[in-house]
Structure formats: structure tokens, C-alpha cells
């Protein structure tokens, strides 16, 4: 290496960015070349001086506050849903609670079958998720994020498929409790409609054919396949929901 080459590489040497071979070449050259070695020392001193004496500007405290509040405000201004007074929300919640309670008492008197009981639990789960701002515990459209998230939280591994390309983007997932057990709830979206896909291992391994029903203005579809029970619920129209069901069935 000539002195010109060394002068070019000196900065990489100084910054510890050269590969081992070039590093050694520069090192050896510096040992017996007074000119290059002087340049190197000057650069080294300069570097040390910049690091120690030149100023590192820290963000002023009021800037920090301003940014924090502008992010919070931006967050609020983006909220489309008008702020609902808490009192009304509480009233609505208690009304729903009474409705759920009434529903829970109905089957014992009128002997509703198992399917209807589950359907009611699914509706409650769906309504609850929308009502208390708890649609999802983990927000991600990536099935490789959502699926591992369930590990350790459930005693089964639910099939997770992102259907964004098919027009039903995966939004996230949450844990829910249904049929006396922890279940996986996958949240999908179609325009402004939320679709909850609730999955848990079925008690019997047999295939249960797809069945659709309606409850309180929601469309529900359920079936069993490959040892899992699936319930889909949404306020989406029946046709599009059936399309969603077909996509889930095809991918499960």
C-alpha cells in the first residue's frame, strides 16, 4: 500500500471500520511511515477533541412536553367516533348486562339447546369486545405475529390466516372465555365491519356442517373441522360473511 492508499484508509482505521486484512496493512504502514503516522495522530487527537469538547445538544424539556401532547392530541383529533358521555355508556352497559343476565336465565327455563347457548356467548363476546374497546390484545395483520402470540396462553394452537388479499384484513387477536374455557378470537375487518372468528378445540372430532343463524341483528356462522370448532360473528351482510367463511374453511 502506498501512502496515498493509507491516507484514504486512515479514517476507516480510526473508526474501527476496516476489515482485518486492511486493518493490519494500515497498522504496519503506520509503524514505519512518519508522515502517515503523524496524520493519523492528528486525526486521532481531533476525533478525541470533538467527542469530548464539542457540544451534544439535548432536547429542551418543553419540546419534550410539546411533542408528547401533540401526539396525544393528534391521536384524539383522529378519533372519528364522537366522545360518548361516560354516564350514558354506563347506562348502556347496565342495560346490556341485564339483557345478558336475562338471556343467561332463559335457557334453564325454556331449555334452549347447546347451540343457542354457545351462540349467545359468542354474541356477548362480540358485543363486549366492541363495547369496552377491547377488540384485540395484539394488533397485527401478520399471521406470524398473531399465531405465536397465543403460545402459552392457550392449550391449543389456532390456525391463523391473513386474508388481506382476499379483502378481509386480519387486524389482531385476543383471548376470550367461552364454553368454560379460554378460546382464541381472531379479529378481521371488512370496511367498517368487525368480524370475530372464535376458535376452540371441539369436544368431538367429527365434522359439523356449516350452519348460519342470526341473533340480535348479528349474523353468526359455525362449523367444526379438523378438531376445531369455529364461530364467526359480524354485523356484515350475510353474503359477504359467507364468502369469509368459505375462505377460512379453505385455509384451515
Amino acid at each position: 500500500m502506498t501512502c496515498t492508499d493509507i491516507q484514504a484508509a486512515i479514517h476507516g482505521y480510526l473508526d474501527g471500520e476496516l476489515d482485518a486484512v486492511r486493518n493490519l496493512e494500515v497498522e504496519q504502514h503506520l509503524q514505519h511511515c512518519a508522515v502517515c503516522s503523524q496524520t493519523y495522530k492528528a486525526d486521532q487527537t481531533l476525533q478525541g477533541a470533538i467527542k469530548t469538547v464539542s457540544q451534544y445538544y439535548r432536547a429542551p424539556a418543553d419540546l419534550r412536553k410539546r411533542i408528547q401532547s401533540s401526539i396525544r392530541q393528534g391521536d384524539k383529533s383522529e378519533r372519528v367516533v364522537p366522545a360518548m358521555p361516560w354516564r350514558w355508556l354506563a347506562v348502556a352497559a347496565s342495560v346490556v348486562f341485564v339483557v345478558i343476565l336475562a338471556w343467561a336465565l332463559v335457557p334453564s327455563r325454556y331449555g334452549l339447546d347447546a347451540e343457542q347457548l354457545v351462540a349467545q356467548e359468542v354474541v356477548s363476546s362480540h358485543v363486549r369486545s366492541l363495547m369496552v374497546d377491547h377488540v384485540a390484545d395484539v394488533m397485527s395483520s401478520d399471521q406470524h405475529t398473531v399465531k405465536p402470540w397465543f403460545t402459552g396462553k392457550l392449550d391449543f394452537s389456532p390456525p391463523v390466516k391473513n386474508l388481506t388479499n382476499e379483502g378481509f384484513p386480519l387486524v389482531g387477536s385476543r383471548l376470550d372465555y367461552l364454553e368454560n374455557r379460554a378460546v382464541a378470537a381472531l379479529v378481521y375487518q371488512r370496511r367498517n365491519h368487525v368480524i370475530n372468528l372464535i376458535i376452540w378445540p371441539s369436544s368431538h372430532d367429527t365434522y359439523v356442517k356449516t350452519k348460519a343463524l342470526a341473533r340480535q341483528g348479528y349474523h353468526l356462522v359455525h362449523w367444526s373441522q379438523a378438531g376445531m370448532t369455529y364461530w364467526v360473528i359480524s354485523d356484515l351482510n350475510d353474503t359477504e360473511l359467507q364468502e369469509f367463511v368459505r375462505l377460512v374453511q379453505a385455509s384451515s
Partner: protein, 180 residues
């Protein structure tokens, strides 16, 4: 409809945890590029709002690098609109050829105001030199990280740093000789 209610709270919390801690780095870069407090504050604030907007697309582990890229781009846009001459003078390399007085670091360090002199000399450097020196010496970033932030190949980072340091030495020599 739920999205507007639901996402922000979680997103804000994660943003505050991941991106807010790097505000000093953001401010330091903006401050060295613009050379004044007021513009630096405005640009950092603007950068943060942009970062928040695009936070959904951020997936990497290097939040500082990601934020600094946004700060750098925000600053350059601002320069284009407000101080376009700063972007063109960067390429003036004429001074480079006239290294009359050899740089004597010992002489510099004997100066009681050496900190002030270095700061002054650095501020006189063209924009792209201030940028690489700030990222390398003050932020301690690797060539690879600087390359990503400045949008140049890693090899260019080394040559740009070489030119920046050489120019800085000239400025310093001039300043030290003036002080003596």
C-alpha cells in the same frame, strides 16, 4: 369504526416507549444541521409527527436510526425550501487543495477555548460534513448506520468523513492562528 377508538391508545403507548427516548439524538442532529435552537425544535417536532404517522410501517429494531432518517429528511426538505444555498455549497471542494498550514493538534488543545473553537469550526462546515461528523463523532454510529440515514453507500461515508475532517482541520488551524 372501532379502529379510531382502539388503535391510538396502544400505538401511542408503544410509540412513547420506542421512539420518544431518542429525542436527544433527534434534537442534536437537527441542531447541528440547522445551527439554531428555534428551527431545530420545529423540525424535531415535525419529524416526530411524521414518525408517529408512519409508525405502523416501522418494524425494525433500530428505532434511533429510523427516527434519525426521518429527522434528516425533514431537515433537508426544510433546507430546500428555506436555505437552498446550503445544499449547493457542500460540493465546493476548492479549499481542500490548499493545505498551507499543517494542522497542529497540540497547539489547538493548549487553547483554553478549544471547545468553543471546535464548535465554531464545525458549524462553519458545509451541511453534509456537519451531518456525517455529528452522526459519527457525537452519535457514535457505524458507517453502515450512517449510510442508511444519509442515503449514501457505506464507502462514501468514509470518504465524506475524510473530507469533513480535513476541512475541519483547516478551519481550526485558521481559527487557532487568529487567536494566537
Amino acid at each position: 369504526m372501532w379502529k379510531e377508538r382502539n388503535v391510538p391508545e396502544q400505538t401511542v403507548a408503544r410509540f412513547e416507549q420506542v421512539v420518544l427516548p431518542h429525542m436527544d439524538a433527534a434534537y442534536n442532529l437537527a441542531r447541528w444541521l440547522t445551527r439554531n435552537d428555534h428551527d431545530a425544535e420545529d423540525l424535531v417536532q415535525e419529524s416526530y409527527l411524521r414518525a408517529f404517522k408512519f409508525f405502523g410501517s416501522f418494524q425494525g429494531a433500530n428505532a434511533r436510526g429510523w427516527l434519525l432518517t426521518i429527522v434528516r429528511n425533514t431537515c433537508y426538505t426544510w433546507f430546500r425550501e428555506n436555505r437552498p444555498q446550503e445544499l449547493t455549497t457542500s460540493f465546493d471542494e476548492n479549499i481542500h487543495s490548499t493545505e498551507a498550514d499543517p494542522f497542529d493538534p497540540e497547539k489547538l488543545l493548549l487553547q483554553s477555548e478549544s471547545g468553543q473553537l471546535i464548535k465554531q469550526a464545525m458549524e462553519e462546515l458545509p451541511l453534509e460534513f456537519r451531518e456525517v461528523l455529528t452522526l459519527r463523532e457525537l452519535e457514535g454510529l457505524s458507517y453502515k448506520e450512517i449510510a442508511v440515514i444519509a442515503g449514501i453507500p457505506p464507502g462514501t461515508v468514509m470518504s465524506r468523513l475524510a473530507r469533513a475532517r480535513s476541512r475541519l482541520k483547516q478551519h481550526l488551524t485558521k481559527l487557532v492562528n487568529k487567536e494566537c
